[in-house]
């Protein structure tokens, strides 16, 4: 809109004799951009507008009544429902716990592999440690469901050998969410590990040697050298993981489908259940918009907090 107005004033300012050439020059970039704009419209903006529109209507796919405009009703009922509040809490617990575990583990593993990098066979260790990323998330979830199986699963089999009581991993409401977190940690810690390790390899060896001469303890080497060195990389990994964790879905649906009870009932599960189990499209659209807004807010806050420290987007200084 603003662009068009500016163009109009510019065109008016240009003498009429030159306007032809000028218009051609102006048109070329627009034409070249057109295909991507069309794709963007069709795949992102279109569906997004449709989503907002759906969120403002009451619509059940199993009923023949046409969608009815209800204004913000869908949002209102969503916010006052206990399900939504539970889902919100579960989602945050899931994301924060998994994120913390993945970071601590990934970092410790990377520091360990980096420290022992000169030993023979470390290349194999490195490869082995990264293989979980290669497994499709749905496959990982199903595989773990079998391992978690209380009666013939391998985990309880091992616990039985040692004589430890066998919990129902996915059927005990106190444990289920954390059992799922363990799957995510298993699969995505290698991602953190890999990027942190790459960051460690990028640090010049002489820097660590200088630190050794300076009498720096291994712990201070990590806190005063390694972490500051690739803070920026860490921030990017943090963001990527957080986005992923907030919308984690397949791993939950393939194991507990949000249960037992509401033990692992997160917001993405709520959206899925509302839309594709109950076919309440209006409510589901409202919930997914809320999810989108939450993710956006979290990410924005995080980026802003970090850029205030001069880590993102401000050069090396």
């Amino acid at each position: 809109m603003r662009l068009r107005r500016r163009r109009a004033t510019e065109l008016a300012a240009v003498g009429s004799g030159q306007s032809r050439v000028y218009r051609g020059e102006r048109l070329a970039p627009a034409l070249m951009l057109a295909p991507s704009v069309v794709i963007l419209l069709a795949l992102v903006i279109g569906p997004f507008v449709f989503l907002i529109d759906t969120a403002l209507h009451r619509q059940n796919l199993f009923q023949t009544t046409p969608p009815r405009y209800v204004g913000a009703d869908n949002f209102y009922y969503l916010f006052i429902s206990t399900k939504f509040q539970v889902a919100l809490v579960r989602m945050l617990v899931f994301a924060v716990t998994a994120l913390a575990a993945e970071f601590v583990l990934g970092f410790v593993l990377a520091a360990w592999v980096h420290r022992l990098r000169d030993l023979p066979g470390m290349a194999i260790v490195r490869t082995l440690l990264t293989t979980p990323i290669l497994v499709a998330p749905i496959v990982a979830a199903v595989m773990w469901r079998f391992m978690y199986q209380p009666d013939f699963g391998v985990i309880n089999y091992i616990l039985g050998l040692v004589g430890i009581p066998k919990p129902g991993w996915l059927s005990d409401p106190d444990i289920a969410l954390f059992a799922i977190i363990a799957i995510d940690v298993w699969q995505w810690t290698p991602f953190v590990f890999l990027i942190v390790l790459a960051g460690m390899y990028a640090i010049p060896r002489s820097l660590y040697e200088a630190a050794k001469l300076d009498g720096t303890s291994p712990w201070r080497q990590i806190t005063h050298l390694t972490i500051p060195w690739f803070k920026r990389v860490l921030v990017i990994v943090l963001l990527l993981r957080l986005i992923d964790l907030l919308r984690a879905f397949e791993v939950i649906v393939a194991t507990t489908q949000g249960g037992p009870g509401d033990a692992s009932y997160t917001l993405p599960v709520l959206v899925w259940e509302t839309a594709f189990v109950n076919f309440q499209m209006g409510d589901a659209a409202a919930a997914s918009l809320v999810l989108l807004v939450i993710v956006t807010i979290v990410i924005t806050l995080l980026i802003r907090a970090i850029s205030r420290q001069g880590v993102v987007g401000q050069g090396r200084r």
Partner: protein, 370 residues
């Protein structure tokens, strides 16, 4: 200030790849307390490995390392009380110059007042007070160099190790830092072990130097002595610029006769030579003088003149065949800037007998050291 001590290496060897690749062969070195000691050699000669063994970053495959009286062979770097200036300075990029310099003291929980006092003292010696709040990325090469030096100095270590610290600086700055380093060494009186491939650097800075080649110690001594009496033709060619001329000759009738026919030089007085003995003659470019024709000097033909302002270097080829040992068969000598020889001029060069250095055909020093 810690007591000033020297470094002693006893039979230090280093092998890699399970003993298949030898980086250092049985090095014995005695670095006196307070010396500015240079380890000099071409790249890949093992000089950095040697320094890293002194620092404790690498352990010798055989032999012992002493700092002062203390056997440090098995000690880690931080237990050795040494400081090092790295080739790339290795400044911590996220810390300011002041934080870089005081990191060690902070690690060791030195009281804050003491840290501040030492920082001010060191910064004033190096003249870097205005830089203290800046991060390395904002400093120029020379400034980083000073901060790196400051980081080493502030700890008052027993030994300073420097790994080609000037090689990343441009020529002007390098000369300036050379003077600075000399001044600092004199002011602090500490022991410095300095690794370089630049013979001029080693010559100007050191009180003593060691020449290394292929992991083997070639010669050790004060620079002027190594320059005047190189132990073998490698040292002779490596030290001094342009390099020493090396010529094949044999003793005939009390004169050194070149392999190229008809040219000869007088024999040094104190050399006990046998008739017919084959030799290599080394003579520095500035010791060669243009003699009169027909006096029986070294016959050469001018190929090229390099003008260097105050003097020229003339590159010539021996007349009548190969006499030189080294590449391109060229003999160089020095003249005053006003003297010019057109290309193709035939000259006869002579040298004072005591300016000649004699080596055996295998390249070892022939004349006994007086």
């Amino acid at each position: 200030m810690s007591e000033i001590v020297g470094v002693t290496l006893q039979g230090v060897s280093k092998t890699y790849a399970g003993g298949n690749v030898a980086a250092l062969n049985t090095i014995d070195l005695e670095i006196r307390a307070g010396a500015f000691f240079s380890i000099l050699g071409p790249s890949g000669c093992g000089k950095t490995t040697l320094l890293r063994i002194i620092a404790g970053f690498e352990y010798p495959s055989a032999g012992r390392v002493f700092i002062g009286e203390r056997d440090v062979t098995a000690l880690s770097p931080r237990e050795r009380d040494i400081a090092m200036v790295f080739q790339d300075y290795a400044l911590y990029p996220h810390m300011t110059a002041a934080q870089n310099m005081t990191f060690n003291l902070r690690n060791r929980r030195v009281p804050k007042a003491e840290i501040a006092r030492r920082l001010a003292e060191t910064a004033s010696i190096l003249g870097i007070e205005p830089l203290l709040h800046k991060r390395p990325a904002l400093l120029s090469g020379g400034e980083r160099q000073r901060v790196a030096l400051g980081r080493a100095m502030i700890r008052k270590p027993q030994i300073f190790l420097m790994d080609e610290p000037l090689s990343n600086l441009d020529l002007k700055l390098r000369e300036q830092m050379r003077i600075e380093l000399s001044r600092l060494h004199q002011a602090l009186g500490v022991t410095v072990v300095f690794v370089t491939h630049d013979q001029a650097e080693a010559m100007t800075l050191s009180s003593e130097l060691a020449v290394l080649r292929g992991g083997t110690l070639q010669q050790m001594g004060p620079p002027d002595r190594v320059y005047a009496r190189p132990a073998n033709i490698f040292v002779a060619r490596f030290i001094g610029s342009p390099s020493m001329n090396l010529l094949r000759a044999s003793v005939r009738g009390g004169r050194l006769v070149m392999e190229s026919e008809g040219t000869a030089l007088p024999v040094p007085a104190d050399a006990r030579l046998q008739e017919g003995e084959a030799l290599l003659i080394g003579v520095r470019p500035h010791d060669l003088k243009v003699g009169r024709k027909g006096e029986g000097g070294l016959a050469v033909k001018v190929a090229l003149t390099e003008h260097l302002g105050r003097h020229n270097f003339v590159v010539c080829h021996p007349v009548g065949g190969t006499a030189c040992l080294h590449e391109q068969d060229a003999i160089q000598f020095e003249t005053e800037a006003s003297v010019r020889y057109p290309v193709g001029t035939e000259l006869e060069l002579s040298a004072a007998p005591d300016a000649l250095r004699l080596f055996t055909p295998s390249g070892e020093r022939r004349d006994e050291a007086p």
